[in-house]
């Protein structure tokens, strides 16, 4: 959109993508992404699978460099800063990966303690108390000496979340936090997410297609379709949006019964 507004609203905007283009091979996955993530709020990126939602996350994390456009995190352009500065920024990040990305060769405790051990100068006792605190928060107390292979999918996600939160990050990224979990376990993850966000007040970016459940947690919903962001708006507005792509997405994911209540005559021709 317009690059100048990012600077003016700097305190509010945590992350901003400006015209981000990314091609893999011959496929243009992202075709000019403009997106603002507001500080202290929860932004959800939805979209059909294979659209490149995770690629957007990877741009925000500085794992992938855009072919064109800019990624601003706390006002700093990720592609112009040094590796050291990038790592400084990443110290404010916590990430829950799709499959939790736990280190197989380490126990639960070591997994959660890793960022503290590698990136801070805390003593062993301090690390132990911090890790225990986070594990307790995730209802994982008692399984700290288990290995990831011994854990269920839901537990692994909880360990991943504990690890993401252990450095008290300002921004936490969730890549499909509930994929592969049953309804009960996803609710648990959502509950933990809600609790910890209330407690720690972090900015959250969630990539998900768990619609409509995810709407309840979000402040802003953005749809990624055809390589672009189709509106980034509060969930109530999102569900009622006129944008044909959003409309189509809402219909296909929530079922025609849901949308038929608000259906306007002639809409199906435009879709």
């Amino acid at each position: 959109m317009n690059g100048n507004t990012g600077k003016k609203t700097l305190p509010e905007v945590a992350i901003e993508l400006q015209g981000v283009v990314k091609t893999f091979g011959r496929q243009r996955v992202l075709d000019g992404i403009d997106l603002k993530v507001m500080a202290g709020q929860t932004t959800v990126i939805v979209g059909a699978s294979g659209q490149g939602k995770s690629v957007i996350l990877k741009h925000m994390l500085g794992l992938v460099r855009p072919d064109e456009g800019r990624v601003l995190v706390f006002g700093q352009d990720l592609s112009t800063i040094s590796r050291k500065e990038l790592n400084e920024i990443r110290m404010n990040f916590g990430v829950l990966f799709q499959n939790a990305a736990l280190f197989d060769s380490m126990t639960v405790f070591d997994n959660v303690a890793l960022p503290l051990r590698e990136r801070t100068r805390k003593s062993d006792a301090e690390i132990r108390s911090l890790v225990d605190e986070k594990l307790k928060l995730m209802d994982l107390f008692g399984s700290e000496s288990k290995y990831p292979a011994q854990l269920s999918g839901g537990m692994r996600k909880r360990v991943g979340l504990a690890r993401a939160l252990v450095l008290d990050p300002k921004v936490v990224f969730f890549d499909e936090p509930t994929t592969g979990l049953d309804a009960h376990k996803s609710n648990e993850i959502y509950r933990l997410f809600y609790q910890t966000q209330q407690q720690l007040g972090y900015t959250a970016v969630i990539v998900s297609h768990d619609v409509p459940k995810i709407f309840k947690l979000s402040d802003h919903v953005a749809l990624l379709a055809q390589g672009q962001i189709q509106g980034c708006m509060p969930p109530e507005q999102f569900q009622l949006s006129d944008n044909p792509l959003i409309r189509e997405y809402v219909e296909t994911t929530m079922g025609p019964i849901y949308s038929s209540e608000k259906e306007e005559p002639g809409l199906h021709e435009t879709v």
Partner: protein, 262 residues
């Protein structure tokens, strides 16, 4: 026709890109190895994995290589009536060629493949991304201990291979075939000079670097493999390729170093 040319060009570009990526990866890893932090524990456990656990393989292959050298050497040298040269023949071929090369090949098979698979799976399951997001440099955290351990372990394994091989040759040549004990060792002492050992040492150091570099780079760039590095199949295919590539590279460099140093 045009399509075929395009494909060839595409492939060449891909290979160039991969070569460049791997080269840069090597430089980054070497930089990491030289710069602090220096942590002992991860290096120790990698030495245990690459070195200590390879010792039985090395003992067996070393002993049998030496024994077969003793056997073959004896029957060849007997034709010229110079069985007395058996000791130096066995020692020189082990120290200069077979020790470094076979040790490197054994380590590729045992540890190299495991490194590629381990790093590849870490790449696939986003563990490497996770490290980066925690502001932990994967090169320092993952590669550095492996590089240091390989550079320390492989020359030592080579030395063990050489010594075991020489005694294997002694067993067959002297104990079974009746070459004079004194002649076996005297011939060896007389003909092996420091330059031979130096050549073996240089080779094993270079091979160590090649093995650990190729094994970890192929795993690290698994997601950029052209035929898709995903899933169990991707990991197994890439591991096979890394093993083949490392073995061929070791043999090519063996020739190059021999040509330069002889």
């Amino acid at each position: 026709m045009r399509n075929a040319l395009e494909k060839i060009g595409d492939q060449v570009l891909y290979l160039l890109e991969m070569a460049g990526r791997m080269g840069l990866f090597l430089l980054t890893c070497l930089k990491c190895v030289l710069l602090p932090p220096y942590k002992m524990r991860p290096v120790l456990s990698q030495i245990q994995f690459i070195g200590a656990r390879s010792i039985f393989v090395i003992l067996f292959t070393g002993a049998f290589t030496g024994m077969v050298l003793g056997l073959q050497g004896y029957y060849t040298l007997r034709k010229f009536g110079s069985e007395g040269l058996l000791g130096s023949a066995v020692a020189l071929s082990l120290i200069r060629e077979l020790g470094p090369v076979l040790t490197a090949l054994m380590v590729i098979g045992r540890a190299g493949s495991a490194i590629t698979a381990e790093i590849g799976i870490m790449r696939n399951s986003e563990q490497i991304d996770a490290l980066e997001c925690m502001a932990i440099d994967p090169c320092t955290y993952l590669m550095k201990p492996k590089f240091v351990a390989a550079i320390l372990s492989i020359p030592l394994l080579t030395a063990i291979f050489d010594v075991v091989g020489i005694w294997g040759g002694w067993l067959v040549g002297v104990q079974l075939l009746g070459v004079n004990d004194g002649a076996y060792f005297q011939g060896m002492y007389a003909s092996v000079i420091w330059k031979d050992i130096e050549m073996g040492l240089v080779k094993s150091l270079v091979f160590a670097l090649l093995v650990v570099w190729i094994a970890s780079a192929r795993g690290y760039f698994l997601h950029l493999e052209r035929e898709g590095g995903f899933g169990a199949e991707g990991v197994s295919r890439t591991t096979t390729r890394a093993v083949v590539m490392a073995s061929v590279t070791v043999l090519v460099w063996d020739y190059l170093i021999s040509a330069i140093m002889l």
